[in-house]
């Protein structure tokens, strides 16, 4: 440990980024092991970079001259003398082929044997999310303004709440500091227009943080919040392991320290921290939970496709008509061409069209004998699904549907629902898979599902993952 003799008084400050977790903690191997060898090496180079070496100093020999020599010999990774030597060691690993285990061992037992800081652990976790964008389940929440609405003649353009990272973190810390001890790490996604915030929560400010090293690596105590650029939504992952669920209801003492309630505290504090004077925000559920961040971005993101999906995705992708300067009549141009705006590169077009054509042809050939009905069916499928599920995809991995209509009487269903629902059964459907909407599309393509009679929730038009359906339409609860 770095400063074993320092006195720790209980404060409301956040956990310091340089708080070290002992490298011998077994769960560290697990969290490092999630990454690939290359990702681990990248991180090591990042830590050894001139700009960040101060924050992540490796273990060097000069630091601890007083250490006994036999202890050194026992270690398979003798301490290097300079930072450059450490860099060279990783360069060597970079050139050599091998497993990731040797990199992990080198990091944990060699160069950072004095401990992995909380910041390093956060970087490891976020690197994993960056590499595996569907490793967590994300829930989209909407930032809704509460209180006084601005007068109608006010500036109508400024509507998206602006997030200034450090100010936001300060006010978030102020909100939760008396209740939760936390460590924050902000990072920009490398592949998506998102900013990730990783919040690690521990029990209370009055607990000694060094007592349990395992506690500092507990994945159920980590909350991720992703802020998409310029839109009034945010995505959270409430990572909950089954173990924490069981401990939630054991005793009143556990209520304060159980990770779930701490996570709830953080979630409640988020909108308050985002609020400004005279501009208060509230988090509203948007009934969308998905694993793929790409899906969340296209359904609750800054772009065009938030409110036009399913049959209306042709408008979101502008796949129907081109620009008014295009002399070609719209019906002679394929949707793919419309979607790739003329100014863009043409290089990536052949692969797109070839891959999209390839699966279509065998489907139509094998399933139907009559080309006329097949053609008619594809037209219907296209009119119902638009481009969703084929050209543009927002993969939903789970779709929960509750049907309020009674299964037998379709005509009187609207009147019976107003009565007490003791004798009217409701039907719950759950679909899981990698991409449910495109699965529905495939079923419709094959003729298993009649595309004409499909309710709109099957075409992805509602852009939700949880819905209550009555008479084929989604029932939206009152905005209370």
């Amino acid at each position: 440990m770095a400063r074993p003799k320092s006195i720790r008084a209980p404060t409301t400050a956040s956990l310091p980024s340089n708080l070290r977790i002992p490298s011998s903690t077994p769960s560290l191997v697990k969290s490092f092991g999630k990454l690939t060898r290359q990702a681990l090496l990248d991180l090591a180079f990042q830590w050894l970079d001139d700009r960040s070496i101060q924050a992540f100093p490796p273990y060097l020999q000069e630091n601890e001259d007083q250490k006994e020599e036999e202890d050194e010999e026992l270690s398979p990774y003798p301490a290097e003398r300079t930072v450059n030597d450490v860099r060279n060691a990783y360069q060597e690993l970079q050139l050599r082929k091998g497993g990731k285990r040797e990199v992990i061992d080198r990091i944990l037992e060699g160069d950072w044997r004095h401990g992995i800081t909380l910041r390093q652990l956060a970087m490891v976790d976020l690197r994993y999310i960056d590499d595996h964008s569907s490793s967590l389940r994300w829930t989209a929440l909407e930032l809704a303004r509460i209180g006084n609405q601005p007068p109608p003649d006010a500036d109508l353009s400024a509507c998206v709440p602006r997030v200034h990272a450090s100010t936001f973190l300060n006010s978030l810390q102020q909100q939760i500091a008396p209740l939760v001890k936390a460590h924050y790490y902000l990072s920009r996604s490398t592949s998506l227009p998102l900013t990730f915030l990783r919040i690690f929560v521990t029990n209370s400010p009055y607990e000694h943080p060094r007592q349990a090293a395992e506690l500092l690596t507990d994945a159920s105590r980590v909350i991720y919040v992703a802020f998409p650029d310029s839109c009034p939504y945010l995505y959270t992952s409430i990572a909950s392991s089954p173990g924490s669920k069981a401990s939630a209801s054991t005793s009143p003492h556990a209520v304060a320290t159980d990770p779930r309630s701490l996570q709830r505290l953080v979630r409640d504090a988020l909108p308050k921290a985002l609020s400004l004077p005279h501009q208060r925000y509230n988090l509203k559920a948007t009934s969308l939970t998905a694993k793929s961040l790409q899906a969340l971005l296209s359904l609750r993101g800054p772009g065009r496709s938030n409110h036009s999906n399913g049959a209306f995705s042709i408008f979101a992708d502008a796949a129907l008509e081109g620009s008014p300067l295009d002399p070609r009549p719209s019906d002679t141009v394929t949707p793919e061409e419309h979607m790739n705006h003329p100014s863009h590169h043409k290089e990536n077009q052949p692969t797109d069209s070839e891959t999209s054509k390839a699966p279509k042809r065998p489907l139509t050939n094998t399933t139907t004998t009559d080309p006329h009905t097949a053609k008619k069916r594809t037209l219907t499928v296209q009119s119902r699904f638009g481009t969703s599920g084929s050209l543009s995809s927002a993969p939903l991995d789970r779709l929960d549907i509750r049907l309020l209509d009674s299964p037998h009487t379709s005509t009187t269903s609207t009147t019976s629902t107003s009565e007490p629902t003791t004798n009217t059964p409701t039907l719950s459907l759950t679909f899981t898979g990698t991409d449910i909407i495109s699965g529905f599309r495939k079923l419709a393509d094959l003729g298993i599902v009649d595309a004409k009679k499909m309710p709109s929730w099957m075409t992805g038009e509602e852009a939700v993952s949880v819905a209550v359906i009555r008479g084929g339409n989604r029932v939206v609860k009152g905005t209370g």
């Binding site: 353009s157 490398t190 409110h307 408008f315 002399p327 100014s343 052949p350 009152g478």
Partner: protein, 339 residues
Amino acid sequence: MDPDDLDTEISSIRAEIRTLHHRRRILTSSLLSSRPLQRLSKTHSLPPPANQSHRQQEWTDISPLLQSSASHAQTNHHRIAFSTTTFPFTDPSPNAEGKSLLGIRIDICARDGRYMKPYYVLLRRVGRSQGGDGGGKKEVKVLRHTIPSVVDMARLERVYLPLESTAEDGEEEEQLKPWKRKSRNQDLKSFVREVRKGLVVWHLRCDAVRYLRETLGVVTRGVDDDALYEDDERPWERDILGPTANTDGAGETRIAKNKFGIVSLGPTSLEAVYVRLEWEDGRVGRFKISNTGVVERAVVIGDAGRDKLTEGILTGGDGRVETLLQRLEKSTVPASPEV
């Protein structure tokens, strides 16, 4: 010969064929919709000449093409001239309350003469009007739209398209918003005007920022010659207004070295209302672009506190965003000897 070379050659030839195909189609359709040909087709279609049977045959072959391109050209003229056009659309959903929708298409032209992807708003009639009698009030409600969240559609809809029939949330709303009790009539024209205004203003702001960046010079990572800027230690920045910004990981760019000493200039968000500036000497600035394209407010902070002089230059003069760099240039000429 190396198979890789052959592959690249084949793909380049394929790409060329594709561009040529594309060009041929553009040219044929331009030709079909050209005025002389259209005029000719009119004269031919009206009186059927008896003697030239084979030429008549050619004209009847070509006339559907001519007609479709003529109507297409006319639609395009409307779209260019009015910028906001309407169209009917049928909701394919079997459970929809009202099948026929009113579509509104908004075309916006960017600075370089290209048109953006058109924006759409689809409206559905609500209330008694769908019962069939024409006497009911024609109230509409936004069903779907493709307007990005830069324009607050929910708010515009609340202001301009209030529904009379929604009684349940009316009471609470009326307490909060007493002004709405006076005018509960829908104003579709104003609604569309405000939506379009929001979009146009947003595009103008984006264009202005892009123009400023281009004037300073933009280096794209990987695309432009990196060797020139190898000694450049500045980090790359994500260009959120770039051409690929909305699709996937945007290309990373930075401002080229310039005489103003500006190392970074970019909008703080997609909305492009606030623009952040950074100078070589560590000064950081931020200004707000108003809806009319004027630099409304500016703050510049250096190590020694506020730089009121630069702030004055940013907001001074005619205040336009486009002339911001010229103003800065003018001011740096007398200032440079003393530095």
